[in-house]
Every structure is written in structure tokens, then in C-alpha cells.
């Protein structure tokens, strides 16, 4: 069994450090626009975050989040302590059981989403985890991915895109996932070279050809992973490297060993098609899925920002968020929550004590998004219609969570509701509606829900039923 962050370990101090809703805290009313903005920037806006936005405004809050190093975050570190897989190297982890490593990395991701105060950083970690997708269920991925998570994705999530791309290309987890350890001179394997162009940088319409894929694959021959001593470390093997000259993307690449592909990486990181692809993906993730002129104009401004800041991810993101979420809001479009949002925002908003463990991971799997297991290199889609076809697992998660039937996770609804408990069903429903949806549920649905749940019920059981109903409602599925 993997070590888990035990529920019992959660003292009031943890709660305080994570800014979770506590007994006497009411949730400050913010505008629905700010609630929705915060729902994109965080995994569910906590009372503390609402209060902060009321005080300093969403734009200033975004600025703070763009520099995560300045945000105190001990609470989450304490919760992550039992998860050794987050700290160990590939050589140590290769001696573990695969399932333990996978579960701990999944737990770590969910606990950070729920409890970290660096919420925008976690949002960007999710974004890059998808962009540079690796499944732990292929080959040695299960013991290689933790280092990739730590040293590639988390280290550069709000840093420099060129450095992020560079780190990803030298990441053993990526090279193994896309078969580059089998990319040899004379008969190259195109898999990594193709996805590097198609998914990580230029995009399928980015103007490269099949010939470019083959030439880049030749540059990448010999990029492999150490087998015995220092197992799981990057290694360039000159004996496996194609010694000839190459011409990828119109570049003249002379024989220079490892340096050849690194030249191409730099070219790709600075390529305008890469910038446009990243900008569009960020606009889609944070602002709108509609591909119209105003979305294109916002992406164009983000491209400029990336150029002006010499590849700063935070620089590009700032423009997307300030113009798209904090500004006039003419571009904003609704999005259906992905499974990680459904789970993390319920835990966060309801102040759950959780180990992020197996029960929750199974719920994520049933909804279709078990972390670090998406099989194909495109990563889980950022697409509302895709996530709209499978509601039943979301309903079952809502019921199990609200009724405290989720192993390793505990809600304390009476404490959360405080003086409101047993006041009146309507008051409970409206208050929980404000917490979970930003505003109370509208009249027809509210009345229908109460009519179905209310009569003849033990009043003490009502909060959990109402909570289950709200978490299962269509309104909760949006963010």
C-alpha cells in the first residue's frame, strides 16, 4: 500500500494554513463575474480568496498569483509529506510497486489542487501536464514521470517556455513515452519528432512537412535513457546518432551530436507558429472555446506579449487573464468542468479533509480523466462537448461525497453550515448554492429539488441530500 496523507492528521492548523472555510466563516458575496473568473483561475474560490478579490480586485489578485514564490504555502507541504514518490529519483522509484508510485503522484496532484494557495500555478501545472502529456501506463513511465512532473512541468510552469521545452525534450519520461530511446541512426523512429512538432510546438497547421519530421527524427537519434548506472537519467549516445548533415525546417544542421536537436529546439521555442498555438490554447483553457475574431485578437496580443517578454509564460498568461477574465468580459465563454474540476472544486469548496486517495482516483477514472494516464500524446481534451456525455459518474461522485461514503475523505457539513444548520431547507439550499455555484439555484430548479427531497425527510439528513443535488446539478458542471 502507498502511504497516504491520513484524514486524522488534519488539525485545525492545516485548515487555517490552507485557508479552508471554517466554522464561523461566512462566504463573502462577490459578483458572479468574479466568481466565474476565480473558478477558471482556481479549483474553486475559497472564502479567503473571495474576500481578497473583494478587497484588491481580480486584476491585482491575478498579479499576486503570477508570482507564486511570494505566496506562503506550508499547509499543502505538510499534507504532501507522506508522499515520498514526489521527492525520490527514478532509480529509487524503479524498486517500488508501480501502482504505489502512480497513486502517490495522483494524490499529490489532487492535494495540491485542493489545498495549495498557489492556485494559478496549479492551473498551469495542469495545463502543461496536458500539453506535454505522458502516461504512466506505458513502459517505464510509471517510475520516470515523477521526475518529469517535478523538474519539467512544475519547475517551469510559470517560467520560460524555451526552458520548459528544453527540459521536456531532455526528460527520460518523454523520450521513453514517445519511443525516442528506439530512434536510431539509419532507421529512425519518428514518433517523438512528429509530436514535438505537431503537439508541443508548431501545431499540425504550423507549416512543417513529412520531410521535416524525418529530418528532425535524424537529429534526435541517440537521445536516450541510461539503463544501468544512474538508471532513468538522460543520455546522449553518439554511437546511435546519425552522423550526417540534416535539413529540418529549412535549417542547415551540420554534424554536432546532441547539439543538433538542441538547435532545432531553440528554433521551435521561438517560432511564431509555436507562440500562436500556445496563445490559442491558453485562451481556450482560461477564457473561451469559441474561435471567433475577438478570441483570435486576444491570442494575437498574447503572442506579442510572449515575444516582448522573451518567452515568459507568465508574461503571455498575464495578457490572456487580464484581458480575458478581469477586463470588460466581452470574450468570456462558459466551459464545462473537466473531471478534475468536478472533484477538486467540490473538495475545496466544501472544505473536505481528504487524502486524495484511491476512492477519489476511481471517481476520476469513471468520469474519464484519471491523472497521468491519458494514453495518447494530445492529452485530455479541453473541449466542453467532449466532457458532456457522461454525467452518471458525476452524479455518483456527488452522492458518495455528500453522504461521506468516499473512503479517505470527510465532509463536515454541520460545521460548514454553522448557525444555518436546521434553519430552513431553503436557507440551507441558498447558502450552499452561493458557496458552490456563486449564486443560489434559480427558482424553478430550487423548488423542484426541494419538493423531491424535502417532505418527510429527517431534517438532519437534508444538508447532505441538498449538497448531493447541488453537486449533481447542471449548474455545477460549468465553470
Amino acid at each position: 500500500m502507498a502511504a497516504g496523507a491520513g484524514v486524522a492528521a488534519c488539525s485545525p492548523l492545516y485548515r487555517q494554513l490552507s485557508g479552508l472555510p471554517g466554522p464561523s466563516q461566512a462566504w463573502p458575496s462577490i459578483s458572479l463575474a468574479d466568481f466565474r473568473g476565480l473558478s477558471r483561475l482556481t479549483y474553486g474560490p475559497l472564502p479567503a480568496e473571495r474576500a481578497q478579490v473583494l478587497q484588491i480586485g481580480l486584476a491585482a489578485w491575478i498579479e499576486e498569483q503570477l508570482s507564486p514564490a511570494g505566496i506562503q504555502d506550508e499547509g499543502v507541504e505538510w499534507r504532501l509529506r507522506p508522499l515520498d514518490a514526489l521527492r525520490l529519483g527514478a532509480d529509487s522509484l524503479s524498486a517500488w510497486e508501480a501502482e504505489d508510485v502512480i497513486l502517490q503522484l495522483q494524490q499529490g496532484a489532487l492535494l495540491r489542487q485542493v489545498y495549495s494557495r498557489r492556485q494559478l500555478l496549479e492551473r498551469m501545472v495542469e495545463f502543461w501536464t496536458d500539453h506535454f502529456n505522458i502516461t504512466m501506463r506505458k513502459g517505464d513511465g510509471w517510475f520516470l514521470k515523477p521526475a518529469d512532473d517535478r523538474e519539467v512541468v512544475r519547475a517551469h510552469a510559470l517560467g520560460d517556455f524555451g526552458e520548459l521545452l528544453w527540459a521536456s525534450a531532455h526528460s527520460p519520461a518523454m523520450l521513453v513515452y514517445l519511443d525516442n530511446q528506439a530512434n536510431l541512426k539509419e532507421a529512425p523512429n519518428e514518433n517523438y519528432a512528429r509530436e514535438l512538432l505537431e503537439l508541443h510546438t508548431l501545431g499540425v497547421e504550423g507549416g512543417y512537412t513529412q520531410q521535416d519530421v524525418m529530418e528532425l527524427a535524424r537529429c534526435l537519434t541517440g537521445w536516450t535513457v541510461k539503463r544501468h548506472f544512474w538508471a532513468g537519467q538522460f543520455r546522449f549516445d553518439n554511437d546511435l546518432h546519425d552522423p550526417g548533415s540534416k535539413r529540418p525546417l529549412g535549417m542547415q544542421i551540420r554534424p554536432e551530436g546532441q547539439r543538433e536537436a538542441e538547435r532545432v529546439l531553440q528554433h521551435l521555442a521561438e517560432h511564431p507558429a509555436t507562440a500562436l498555438r500556445l496563445a490559442r490554447k491558453l485562451v481556450r483553457r482560461f477564457v473561451t472555446e469559441q474561435e471567433d475574431q475577438s478570441a483570435a485578437a486576444l491570442a494575437e496580443r498574447a503572442v506579442q506579449a510572449l515575444r516582448k517578454t522573451n518567452g515568459s509564460i507568465a508574461g503571455m498568461l498575464r495578457v490572456v487573464l487580464l484581458d480575458g477574465l478581469a477586463g470588460a468580459r466581452t470574450i468570456w465563454g462558459p466551459k464545462v468542468k473537466r473531471p478534475v474540476d468536478v472533484v477538486a472544486s467540490a473538495l475545496r469548496l466544501l472544505g473536505a479533509d481528504t487524502d486524495g486517495g484511491e476512492a477519489l482516483q476511481q471517481a476520476l477514472q469513471a468520469m474519464g480523466q484519471p491523472p497521468f494516464q491519458w494514453p495518447t500524446p494530445d492529452g485530455p481534451p479541453d473541449d466542453s462537448p467532449f466532457w458532456s456525455t457522461n454525467l452518471l459518474p458525476r452524479w455518483n461522485f456527488a452522492i458518495a461525497l455528500a453522504r461521506n461514503e468516499m473512503k479517505g475523505t470527510r465532509l463536515d457539513l454541520p460545521t460548514l453550515l454553522g448557525p444555518l444548520t436546521l434553519s430552513s431547507p431553503q436557507a440551507e439550499l441558498d447558502s450552499l448554492g452561493e458557496l458552490l455555484l456563486g449564486v443560489p439555484l434559480g427558482p424553478p430548479q430550487r423548488d423542484l429539488l426541494l419538493a423531491a427531497l424535502g417532505p418527510g425527510q429527517d431534517p438532519a439528513g437534508l444538508p447532505s441530500l441538498v449538497t448531493a443535488g447541488l453537486l449533481a446539478s447542471p449548474a455545477y458542471q460549468w465553470r
Partner: protein, 427 residues
Amino acid sequence: MRFAAERREFFQVLCQCPQHAQATHYARSTWPAWMPRLAFAPAKRGVRGDVLVVVFLRGAADGLNMVVPHGEPTYYTNRPTLAIPRPDDRKAAGSSRAVDLEGFFGLHPAMAALLPAWQEGHLAVVHACGAPDDSRSHFKAMELMERGLADLGGPASGWINRHLASLDTGNTSPLRAIGFGEAAPRSLRGVIPVSALRSIAEFHLGGEPEIAGLLKGGLAGLYSGDDLLAGIGRETLRILETVEQLDPQGYRPESGLPAYPASDFGAALRQVAMLVRAEVGLEVAAIDLGGWDTHFAQGASDGLMAGLLADLAGGLSALHADLADSLSRLTVVVMTEFGRRVQENASLGTDHGHGSLMLLLGGNVEGGKVHGSWPGLSQGQLFGPGDLAVTTDYREVLAEVCRKRLNNPAADQIFPGFTPGRAGFVR
């Protein structure tokens, strides 16, 4: 630019929502319609056709090693380690040789379970089949194929959903179309709400029966609005009701018949058979089978791909035997986004290619035949960097299946911009 307009409309109404909701200061649990209600001509009334089962092999399956051109010497020179030995190759173990079909092509030995279906004329192969797109990108190719398009400018909906939307069979079953898995595939997406489900046996609302009953009432109220999620929510509740009447665990094929493989794919096909027998209104089932992106250690007669093929062929042959008395109203289509390079790579695998194949299984398939013209594998006959050429557009096959087996002649709506020509794959 009617299709771009459809996409725009898809999201337009939504964008006005926050202001609306803010004005009333209530969360509208029903967002205004965000699906275009009428993207195409109104549906024509028509009689229900076959149950269509679409199996999509994700990752670009190597058609050359599924139905092997053993009469083609260049196949063997290009694949020194991956080739499947000729049916008459005395140097190879009998169990590793291709199973001859008609002298030139043979089945991969792991697909031998399909030989009876072939011999009975219920299995057809369309070789050198595929799409015009040559991006060799899985994601672009799959998206185009599932949307039934030649370029990304067309409608956002999937071809199967457009078939359902353009033919009103009077069938209001919530199980008219389902996708097996965690999300419905792109081909099922569109104006007709379609649900994904992993397992009919596990399709129930959690908690004690009493609680589940209360919440079902609550959910009916919450999902009483008029938007995409509300529509899907109501369908989900109706499926729950229908499924309660079934006994999925009790369903077994007759004794003596081949068992379904103990895999997700086998389970999905077993559930298709159960739904067909239960006559609950199933018209289309879409099933994904992944793992075909065999850049590395693909294997030949044994190995990675052989395992996938055994699952595929085992499942299809079990379905064929199980539904033997219903084959006249069943058509199964197996397809993939593109094929793989003729020449093997250094990692005992194959890189992205172009042409692959389709399989057709059913009582009214022109079976026992390899359809399509064979372009050959010699220099000058290959496409691009050394790939099998495409001589049959996949839409040719699907359009004929829609017209003849599903009674839907609206090919212009299902495959906009494509004019079906020569066919003869099904009766």
C-alpha cells in the same frame, strides 16, 4: 460558410449567460440552448435499418499485417522482422503463417477466429482504404474521419450523429445510440444527445435505494431545462430506467459458442448483443479499441499487435456466432485513422503511413471478398515517404452502409462535400 455559422451558434447564446444570471442573481441551472437545434434539413421519416456497430482502432492500425498481401514479394523485403510468413512457408511454424483468404491476401494468424465468418460470406475486407488527408497526425486524421470530412472547415458534429439527425425512425429509445467508454466518441457528437457508458451492469445511481430514489426525483427537476446538459441529463435518467429492466449480468451466449474475450472490448460487444436481443431500440453502438500506434516492438505473428488482433478477432467472432440468428439486421464496421509505413523501422515497429483497411461484418455484407483495387507496394506505387496508397475513400464504404443498411440516403448531409461513386461493399 454555413458550417462556421453552426460552430458560432454553438457558443453564442452561452456567452450572454453571465450577464443574464447576474441580473437575476440566481444560477440558472438551465443555460440557454447551446446546441443548434436545426443544423440541417429536417429529418426524413424512414424505417429503421440494421444495428450499426462502429469499431474504431485508435492509433493507426497496420492494415498490412492484419490482412497480409502475401502474394507481394516487396512486402517481405520491406519487413524483414515484422512480416507474417506466407501460408505455404515451410520454414515458418504453421501457427505463425498467414491464413490464406483468396490466394493473394491472408489473415494475420491471430485473426484466424474470423475465418468461419469469412467462409460464410459475412466478412469483407476493403484494403488500401483510408482518407485523403495525409497529415499523418493521429489527432487531425481521427477528427476528420469522425466528423466525416475532407478538411476541418465542415460541421462540428460527427457523421453518426448526422445520420441519426437526418433520419427520423420514430425510435425514441434513450439507447438509440451509445458510445462505450468514458466519453462518447467524436463521431456521435451533435444535435441528438448521445450518452457514453462504460458498462450497463454498473449503470445505476449510487447510495441506498431509498436515497437514490429521492435523488432521481431531484435530478429530474434539476435537469428539466432546455440546454445540452439538461438534455443529456434527461437521457441519462431514461437510460437508468430502461437499464433497470435488463439483467446484464445474466446475459450469456448459448453454450458451445465462442466466449467473448475478457477485455473491455469483449465486454462492450457482449453488451451490444444483449441490447440487440432485449430489443430496447439500439441503432448505433460506437466502440473504441486503442493501442495501435505501434512505433516500437510491434511484433509479427506474436507480440504486441498480435495480442490486439486476438482481442479484435475474438470479440467479433463471438458476436458473429452469438447473433447468428440476427445477422440480417447487423452491420459491423471496423476502421482506423490511417495505416503504417510499409518499411519497418529500427525499433521493430512501424511509423505513420497512409492507406490501411476497413472490415465489414454482417449478414448483408458482400463477404468472402477483399474489395478495392490493390495499388501495390513497389517503388513508384507507394505514396509519400513509402506508404500504401489509398484507392478507396472510407466515406465510400460508410455512405453505402448508410444508404443500403440504415435506409438513409442523405449522404450529402452525413458526408458533406463528398459524392459517393462506385460501391458494392454491402447488399
